[in-house]
């Protein structure tokens, strides 16, 4: 199963990954504010299995927040 790891404190909440994800499973975690003051991107655990490990989110992220493993 694929796994997407967000280095949350680096996220700037730009939502480019949200936009890039073909499965539309990335969303902003409105319950959290990171040290930079942003709601970080996340994938809800229940959505993680929809991930096809295409790596698009990681390729799109301008802040190298995302690691994808399979």
């Amino acid at each position: 199963m694929a796994k997407v790891i967000f280095n949350e404190d680096l996220c700037k909440g730009c939502e480019l990954c949200v936009n890039a994800c073909p499965k539309k499973i990335i969303e902003m975690d409105l319950s959290k504010i990171n040290t930079k003051g942003y709601h970080p991107a996340t994938i809800k655990p229940e959505n993680m299995d929809k991930c096809i490990a295409c790596g698009f989110c990681a390729m799109m992220c301008p802040d190298v927040v995302i690691t994808v493993i399979k």
């Binding site: 909440g13 480019l16 890039a20 390729m59 301008p62």
Partner: protein
């Protein structure tokens, strides 16, 4: 478990200082990955210019110099002449490269200086607050074209790749964009080719990357990507403008 994507060793641990969603970050990553994949990090010397990417010397995981505004190609020339066996690159914005640094980039290209230039065209001066750049589109509002860029007053945007391609010293010139994954992949290939042109001693190489400035354009990062596609790309056609590589990868 296999790693599909992880951060390249070509970047240091210092977080980028760019605004949220600014594609400077993507371009940095591509350059760093290209160097890592080509195995040249230990012999790379980069030149940061003046602009939002001024702190590039903190981000690339290799030796770096910070150059005066527009002079990165001259600084890179100095470095390359001392270390002809090293891989030297500059990272420059459109204000830096196409305005104040016009003479330096034209002559580095004409000399066939064996350096690689990453040219980030975001149609304005990001760092200083969104002023007009030589690449600002006709009609585009910026902080110094509050009524929109008027050709009668401010003239026309410069197509740098086309202009430099008229020079015999240019070995590899390509214009790319990073507004979606497909184009990001193409951009990476272009950057690798540009480094290869240097490594193969072909001459001067440059990749012009159409980039965003959501902050000064007054758009969300996602809107900004679309603006590149809809407004910049038509005036700045993507493609290879010069290629003398032995084998196109």
């Amino acid at each position: 478990m296999a790693v599909v994507f992880e951060k390249t060793k070509g970047l240091t641990d210092v977080p980028f200082s760019y605004c949220p969603g600014c594609t400077h970050g993507i371009i940095h990553r591509l350059v760093a990955e290209a160097m890592e994949e080509l195995g040249v990090l230990d012999k790379a010397i980069g030149v940061a210019s003046v602009g939002c990417s001024v702190f590039a010397y903190e981000f690339f995981n290799c030796d770096m110099q910070q150059a005066a505004h527009g002079r990165a190609p001259a600084v890179a020339t100095g470095i390359k002449r001392v270390h002809p066996d090293k891989v030297v690159f500059t990272y420059q914005g459109d204000g830096d490269l196409a305005a104040i640094g016009t003479a330096e980039i034209v002559h580095a290209a004409a000399r066939g200086e064996k350096i690689t230039v990453i040219f980030v065209n975001n149609a304005n001066y990001g760092m200083t607050g969104g002023q007009m750049a030589p690449t600002t589109l006709v009609g585009q509002r910026t902080t110094t074209t509050p009524y929109g860029r008027k050709p009668e007053v401010n003239g026309y945007p410069i197509r740098v790749s086309e202009m430099l391609s008229t020079l015999d010293g240019a070995a590899y010139i390509e214009r790319v964009a990073v507004y979606d994954v497909k184009h990001i992949m193409q951009a990476k290939k272009a950057i690798k080719n540009a480094f290869l042109a240097q490594i193969q001693n072909k001459g001067f190489s440059l990749v012009e990357v159409l980039s965003t400035c959501p902050t000064n354009w007054g758009m969300t990062p996602v809107e900004a990507l679309k603006w590149v596609k809809d407004h910049m790309e038509p005036y700045y056609p993507l493609g290879v403008y010069k290629n003398t590589l032995e084998e196109v990868k």
